[in-house]
């Protein structure tokens, strides 16, 4: 596993980066913010289902409003439109995050259930040197705690290193690092994965074909993630690499260590994002101050551009997705909005011909997406994958963990709406997931099995 160590260095670091959930806006105008807070406080008590509705859109509307002349006078006139936006797009954000998380989890669970390779124990990463094959429970527990401490300290060191690099503007170094790590992910892990899947299904494939397939996959992936590409393709690639990473974790982390690590990393995430000196928080704030996007290779952006009732005859020749970008691009250029999504999206897009200014008004209903770090994807999938792999082959546990994680995500988005700043996405979901995993595995399973054997229904 030595080779994993050398290369995984770059792997670990992106993981830490990714464990935060951010709203897609830069610090808004204070007066407007107060206005929003007041209007939210005046509502009925916040509740889970509705709050996702109101949650992210005030963020987006803050953006949309800032992109106007920024004059507070227009606040009142825009209140109604905000609320309309709230209604229409609020729940949409939750779904926009549900879908990729669900897809990632499905890929991981499907692979775990079908491909034997990922559930065999073939050694451990160099980060978890203590074996868990010890006879006594206490020793095993101790080993897993030690493993966790080592892993978490590695992650902390990497994160601090990254933040330091970012602060001192060593962008080239960071970019090189990220490119190297995503290269490794895209090529090496995909090769292993494909090899195992082909083995499982007993499909023969010769090396030239394999080389061609992997080369294409990897090259397009590199371009999509680091440069420009269709949004959906980029999202698909990010989901793929998260799933691959999660599979690697599931395979190479020993049992108890994995659970303790999950717990510890959610605590770490909580601290790193919320404490004033936390590395992730500093990273986010620095990025906000400089109005720069956080590296596209580390964040999943659900941003979708929306144009309502626009009929652009000259874009009829292009595909619909391109039409959306055109309009959004113009909107951005016209609005000169400093929000993070904007700069990232515009960075990813080639300059498109500008359309006349009259399109500005129609673009007020443009939507900013919510961003979720890739580390969150990975750890959610690790949790569900471990549940699928080790819960006595039981689907109920997997399903329970899945629902728990989704509900945690809902709650986190709710809190995002209330607090309007970067929040850790891991703690709530992982806590729910862990609680449900252990309780379902130990308590619900005997109950359901007994019921099923007597064919009783509740």
């Amino acid at each position: 596993m030595i080779m994993f160590m050398n290369n995984s260095d770059s792997e670990e670091e992106p993981c830490n980066e990714r464990t935060s959930l951010m709203s897609a806006e830069s610090p808004p105008v204070p007066s407007y913010q107060d206005g929003l807070q007041a209007s939210e406080a005046g509502e009925a008590q916040p509740h889970r289902k509705r709050r996702p509705g109101s949650s992210c859109s005030p963020n987006n509307v803050a953006d949309g409003d800032m992109s106007d002349s920024g004059v507070p006078v227009r606040e009142g006139a825009l209140e109604n439109e905000e609320e309309e936006l709230t209604l229409k797009y609020g729940a949409k954000h939750v779904i926009m995050l549900f879908v990729p998380v669900t897809l990632c989890m499905i890929v991981v669970v499907a692979t775990i259930k079908s491909v034997r390779f990922y559930t065999e124990k073939n050694g451990q990463l160099i980060y978890t040197p203590f074996s868990e094959d010890t006879p006594s429970v206490g020793q095993r527990l101790l080993n897993s705690v030690l493993n966790t401490i080592i892993m978490i300290s590695v992650i902390v060191v990497m994160t601090v290193f990254l933040v330091v690099l970012y602060k001192y503007r060593c962008y080239k170094f960071i970019h090189g690092w990220l490119i190297l790590s995503s290269l490794m992910l895209l090529f090496l892990f995909t090769y292993i994965y494909l090899g195992e899947v082909l083995k499982t299904y007993n499909v023969a494939m010769d090396y030239p074909t394999l080389f061609l397939v992997i080369w294409n996959f990897g090259a397009v992936g590199m371009i999509c993630i680091h440069w420009k590409g269709p949004l959906q393709l980029q999202q698909a690639y990010l989901i793929m690499i998260s799933a691959l990473m999660a599979l690697v974790f599931i395979k190479y982390l020993p049992e108890w260590s994995a659970w303790v690590i999950l717990g510890a990393i959610s605590i770490y995430d909580l601290m790193a994002v919320l404490c004033p000196k936390g590395p992730l928080r500093m990273l986010v704030e620095t990025a906000q101050e400089r109005n720069e996007p956080i590296f596209p290779a580390l964040i999943y952006s659900s941003a979708m551009m929306w144009t309502v009732g626009m009929a652009k005859p000259d874009t009829a020749a292009r595909g619909p997705s391109q039409q959306m970008w055109d309009a959004a691009e113009d909107g951005r250029e016209n609005h000169r909005s400093p929000s993070r999504t904007d700069s990232q999206m515009s960075e990813m897009r080639s300059p498109l011909p500008t359309h006349p200014i009259t399109s500005v008004e129609e673009l007020e209903e443009e939507e900013r997406g919510v961003k979720l770090g890739l580390g969150d994807f990975i750890f959610y999938s690790v949790l569900v994958g471990k549940a699928a792999a080790t819960a006595s082959g039981d689907w109920n546990t997997t399903l329970a963990c899945f629902v728990a994680i989704l509900i945690g995500l809902c709650l986190t988005l709710l809190l995002l709406a209330v607090f309007k700043k970067a929040l850790p996405a891991l703690p709530i979901s992982i806590t729910f997931g862990l609680v449900f995993y252990f309780s379902t595995d130990n308590i619900v399973r005997p109950f359901m099995d007994t019921l099923a054997s007597h064919q009783l229904y509740i």
Partner: protein
């Protein structure tokens, strides 16, 4: 069929999906609590005493039914408050989703989760090798399980509608009727493997609940006739 329901009616609107997942979550929590109770009871009792185990199982089932209904009530309360929030936020004073739709979605959520929990392990095992009923059990195990699950999912949906309607209009007899029906259906499964005793009453109850829910939702025999004859 339940999946078809989901695809056609719920998957379009993100708000409904959230309500669905939350409904499934509530059912899950109720299941957790009820199995916790059962687990404690089993551990505290003698594992070799067969009739006692059976009795405990029955007790567990009944308790679970009651807990499910309690959680449905809690979920109703939550959704009521959510609707108030929705109304406050909307621009024209009415919420984008009515309480009936919510009732429907909540019912489907409960039903899907309970159906999934009942069926998934069976399906996974069904993919593997083996013969059904080789030890003298019924050979129709899978088939009857499938039908029972389907009827249960539909029943949960209808119960959701009835329950919420009862809560809305403060008609306690509706609520108790739902609880009693649920208990009856679960109780009838005790007759398994004498399938006549469980499947037939369940389907009859489902038909009754369906008709009741349909009437409550504003349908009528005329609507039905027009729909079936495809008149405009």
């Amino acid at each position: 069929p339940a999946l078809g329901l989901f695809l056609f009616t719920i998957a379009r609107d993100p708000l409904r999906i959230i309500i669905l997942i939350a409904g499934a979550f509530f059912w899950l929590v109720s299941l957790l609590l009820s199995s916790l109770i059962w687990f404690i009871a089993v551990k505290a009792s003698d594992p070799r005493d067969q009739p006692l185990q059976k009795g405990l199982l029955i007790f567990g089932v009944m308790f679970s039914v009651l807990l499910q209904e309690a959680f449905r009530f809690l979920y109703y309360k939550l959704l009521r408050k959510a609707i108030e929030g929705l109304v406050a936020l909307s621009e024209d004073g009415c919420s984008p989703i009515s309480i009936q739709q919510m009732a429907y979605v909540a019912g489907v959520g409960f039903g899907l989760m309970s159906g999934a929990f009942s069926m998934i392990n069976l399906l996974a095992d069904a993919l593997g090798p083996g013969t059904v009923g080789i030890h003298g059990d019924s050979q129709l195990y899978f088939l009857t399980s499938a039908f029972m699950t389907m009827v249960l999912i539909f029943l949960h949906t209808f119960w959701g509608i009835l329950f919420f309607h009862g809560c809305e209009h403060r008609r306690w007899w509706e609520i108790t009727a739902v609880v009693v029906m649920h208990l009856a259906v679960s109780g009838s499964t005790f007759c398994n493997p004498l399938y006549v005793g469980s499947l037939v009453p369940s389907y009859l109850l489902m038909a009754a609940a369906a008709a009741w829910a349909y009437l409550l939702s504003g349908g009528s025999a005329q609507n039905l006739r027009r729909f079936l004859l495809c008149k405009s």
